[in-house]
Amino acid sequence: MKFFTKFSKAKILFLAFIFTISCSKDDPDAVNEQEFISNVILTIESADGTSQTVDWDLSEMNSQTINLKVNTDHNVGIRFINSSDPNDIEDVTLEVIAEADEHQVFYEFADVSVNVTSASNDTKDGGRGVLLNSVWNASSMGTGLVRVYLIHQPTNFNATTRDGLGGFNDVAIDIPVSIVE
């Protein structure tokens, strides 16, 4: 019997413990995500003076179509932006330029054939162009898409396929491409 009275005491103690303790945590600070990229902005200027800005926005997950003219050089600039905090918009491109030795922009086309070379104003690491500024030239008409990559720490900068480059993707997005006369 003595044992059971002890047990009830423990029970009362337990209930008392639950109801007496009430404290709460302070509100944590929100994390403003660093290294985060919310927008990829491509500016396309053709040799004849027409220009187009294509903004791939994370919240909308899409963008307008890139329009190219066949057999014409286009200067294509790419910028990476973090606008997750509207009061503090960051230009991530600057980080890529600062770490040019471990980044590579890479364009892969589907259903269209476009030749990409490093532009004269491109960011260079040794002799290699990072392709932040590039020259695009389409050899035939058609519609397709371009997969835009920002690759961090590629293992082989000279490769011509995404598989061959190695490393890992900081950006991999698809943008429709239309090539006309």
């Binding site: 044992f3 047990f7 944590p28 290294e35 997750s84 961090h152 993707n169």
Partner: protein, 806 residues
């Protein structure tokens, strides 16, 4: 017992045996009391025998023995007790004699638990458990606690690379496996599959593995089972002794070193210290180096206390630090990278061997302070009181842009206060009761400085539990046990959700009460509060069928509140290329489990058979629920969900001595696990596995040689978690399947151990061991290793191990 001239009169429950003889001059008696050498307590059931005669007596509850009708003469008296070293004494009997005898507890395998530091006897006698000596585990050349479990049927390891492993019991891991050290549960973010238990097992002396939530004293939520680490009881003698070990290994070109020094005083006071250090470079698989898999560990502990058998206290501080590297090639950007990794036979990054570790890596530290007090009262009721504080820091580093690689992506500080109070050994006739209370306050803090969304939010957790255990034992051959536990769990979390996610998951309707009104850009702060009341229970019987065979059956009910990761997870898991989401709507899981064990022990062979069957309602698991487009490409989304799960399995063990010097051991285990609601197998269930061991130990020589073989079959039962993604190949888009579900083929691994024991003049032993693991250098992948997508398991490893006592 056959002798006709002796009559027995056995008083039931008293174990008191009276002897009579008929004789002429032989009417002398011999009586006295047998006591424990350490605390002068009475030894019950000690056998006092006159050698060469049929005269004997067994001590009663007061330690008394009495032998009558002895003829005068010289005799040799033999005093024995199951828990003590036997003693012989020469006597010359001329008159009636009264004298007292003292016996000292000896240390044998069973004894270690009975007199272990935390005074654990077998946690529950009706549930089979495995007890292993740490030194035995060391002899297999294991480096981590969980590696050691490979040698116990029914237990396996879930790995992330080779330095990070979690125990798996009966196919379950994480929060379903409890780890108890020094009488307290270990709290170290144990929910994560890639978080190794932050324990230095070298500083403990025994491991108990309990399959099933039978250790109700420590918690009722560990439906898989518990692992209990403890130290041995101190010797009440003025002694100073130490042990040291050095272990050098060829795989990883590293090793470990450890030392332990202990000083005991005859007044019961003791002080001891432990140190363990480990350092390994890149490990290697048979054909390539596993770049960035080196690790280091530095641990120490200091303990002091006073142990007087009937009362005592101790204070212990321990510090554990582990810094493992994670295979560099496993850091991937998106599913395309994962696809390439899966279709490549080698990791994408293989560098030269180095001791340096870079990102991705982890840094974990665990500090622990425990205080314990116990005392036994006159009526043998024992009071235990304890408090523990655990401080766990965990940092995870990833390859980052903008020079942020040195800034962790996960930075958590978990502080846990534990309080326990227990009364045990409350005896009423054939009944034995135990009851107590455990309380816990836990505070998790996640630093915002990481610049990455918190994986686990800030929270406070309160837990209060009470338990009562009882057992009824009528005779030595039958025991009935039961136990009941009630736990109240309360979470108070503060977490930022992206508004889009909060609304997408309908939380703005379901959990509207949690919204605080505070927001930051596109995130909102919510304050989820959850209360859970869990009931757990166990009942079982243990029956001796004959002198050498035993039968146990047990039913266990356990309930577990969802853990913080199951509720709140939110983020990208790099090595899995998966976005993991917690789920606020999940309920506690309830598991019913039946355990059966049959065992037989004979001098030249023994076997045990342990089947189990369990059904879990609301079994919480994570499964793929679609693809999410991000700026890094598409990622599969994994969300915590619950289902009903059915698990059954069997573990078996058989050993046989073939000839005098040669013994053979075999162990095997199999688990079948099915998700009933979705009619598919559960993920990450260990495949059928077995080990066989042949041990040669020549008589009178100091060496032994053993060879063992581990076989693991292919796991043919796995759910389909594959997904499809678009891939540009030769200028066109093609769809490819990312096959993350398929299990690797079965494998076998051969190990050998040569062991030599040397004794010096002071009778102290030194052990030299030569160990070869994966002798055949066979290349294989393990289904339970999350790095199997990227690399194969370790290749051949040669070890030299030196262990000495002084």
């Amino acid at each position: 017992m056959k002798h006709k001239s002796i009559h027995f009169y056995i008083v039931l429950n008293c174990l008191f045996i009276w002897n009579f003889t008929y004789g002429q001059e032989c009417n002398l008696f011999l009586k006295g009391i047998v006591t424990d050498f350490h605390d002068d307590s009475f030894l019950i059931g000690a056998l006092v025998k006159i050698e060469g005669t049929n005269f004997f007596s067994q001590t009663n509850l007061n330690g008394e023995f009495e032998i009558e009708g002895i003829c005068p003469g010289r005799y040799v008296l033999n005093i024995s007790h199951p828990n003590c070293k036997s003693k012989t004494k020469n006597i010359n009997l001329k008159d009636n004699k009264i004298f007292d005898l003292k016996l000292e507890h000896h240390i044998n395998e069973l004894e270690e638990i009975i007199v272990s530091d935390s005074r654990l006897s077998r946690t529950r006698k009706s549930v089979q458990e495995v007890l292993v000596d740490i030194s035995e585990i060391n002899s297999y050349g294991s480096n981590t606690l969980v590696d050691a479990l490979n040698y116990i049927p029914g237990a396996s390891i879930l790995k992330t690379g080779n330095s990070i492993g979690k125990p798996v019991i009966h196919g379950m891991y994480g929060s379903r496996v409890g780890i108890v050290t020094d009488g307290f549960r270990q709290y170290d973010q144990q929910w994560g599959p890639d978080h190794a238990p932050n324990v230095d097992f070298d500083s403990f002396e025994t491991i108990q593995l309990i399959k099933g939530a039978a250790a109700l004293k420590y918690g009722g939520d560990t439906s898989a089972g518990s692992i209990i680490l403890s130290s041995k009881r101190k010797v009440l003698r003025d002694t100073l002794f130490g042990t040291s070990f050095i272990n050098l290994e060829s795989n990883g070109w590293g090793g470990k070193f450890g030392s332990r020094l202990e000083k005991n005083y005859s007044n019961g006071f003791y002080i001891n210290g432990n140190f363990t250090g480990k350092r390994y470079g890149d490990l290697n698989s048979p054909n390539y180096i596993l770049s960035n898999t080196g690790f280091k560990e530095v641990d120490f502990s200091i303990k002091l206390g006073k142990d007087l058998v009937s009362k005592g206290w101790n204070l212990k501080y321990s510090n554990y630090n582990l810094e493992p590297g994670i295979l560099k090639a496993s850091h991937i950007g998106n599913v395309q990278d994962l696809f390439f990794a899966l279709n490549s036979s080698e990791p994408s990054i293989i560098d030269d061997f180095t001791y340096n570790v870079g990102a991705p890596n982890q840094r974990a530290s665990h500090q622990r302070l425990t205080f314990k007090y116990f005392r036994s009262f006159k009526n043998d009721v024992k009071l235990d009181f304890g408090y523990s504080y655990q401080n766990n820091k965990r940092k995870e580093f990833d390859i980052r842009r903008g020079g942020r690689t040195n800034v962790p992506v996960v930075d958590l500080l978990l502080k846990t206060h534990n309080l326990m109070l227990g009364f045990s050994n409350i005896k009423m006739e054939n009944w034995d009761f135990e009851f107590g209370y455990n309380g816990l306050i836990q505070d998790n803090f996640s630093t915002p400085d990481t610049g990455v969304k918190r994986l686990i939010p800030d929270y406070i957790k309160f837990e209060n539990g009470i338990y009562i255990l009882g057992s009824y034992q009528e005779s030595n051959s039958f025991l009935w046990e039961w136990g009941l536990r009630l736990d109240h769990v309360f979470y108070d979390a503060k977490k930022y959700y992206y508004k889009s996610v909060w609304e997408e998951r309908n939380y703005d309707v379901l959990f509207n009460q949690f919204e605080t009104g505070t927001d930051f850009a596109n995130q909102i702060l919510v304050n989820p509060k959850f209360n859970y009341l869990n009931v757990s229970a166990q009942t079982g019987i243990s029956k001796k069928i004959s002198d050498n065979s035993e039968f146990n059956i047990s039913y266990i009910l356990s309930q577990r509140a969802p853990n913080p990761s199951e509720l709140f997870s939110d983020g990208l898991h790099h090595a899995m290329a998966a976005i993991e989401y917690g789920n606020l709507s999940i309920n506690p899981e309830t598991s019913h489990k039946f355990l059966l064990s049959l065992s037989k022990t004979k001098p030249n062979y023994n076997w045990s058979l342990e089947p189990f069957i369990s059904k879990t309602f609301n079994y919480i698991f994570i499964e793929p629920t679609g693809l999410k487009q991000t700026i890094r490409g598409a990622f599969p989304v994994w969300t915590y969900k619950s289902t009903d799960a059915f698990l059954t399995g069997i573990d078996l063990n058989y050993s046989q001595s073939i000839i005098e010097n040669l013994s053979f051991d075999i162990g095997a285990s199999y688990v079948y696990a099915q998700d009933i609601l979705n009619s598919e197998p559960l993920i990450l269930i260990p495949p059928l596995n077995s080990f066989q061991k042949l041990k040669f130990s020549p008589k009178k020589s100091k060496w032994t040689f053993e060879i063992s073989n581990h076989i693991s079959a292919k796991q043919n039962r796995f759910p389909d978690s594959n997904f499809i993604f678009d891939y540009i190949e030769d200028g066109t888009i093609v769809s490819k399947t990312v096959d993350i579900s398929e299990s690797p083929s079965g494998f076998h691994r051969l190990d050998a151990i040569f062991s030599l024991q040397i004794r010096n003049q002071k009778n102290l032993t030194t052990n030299l061991r030569l160990i070869a693991q994966n002798i055949l250098n066979s290349e294989y992948r393990d289904y339970l290793n999350r790095m199997r997508y990227y690399s194969s398991e370790l290749g051949r490893n040669l070890q030299i191990q030196l262990n000495f006592n002084y």
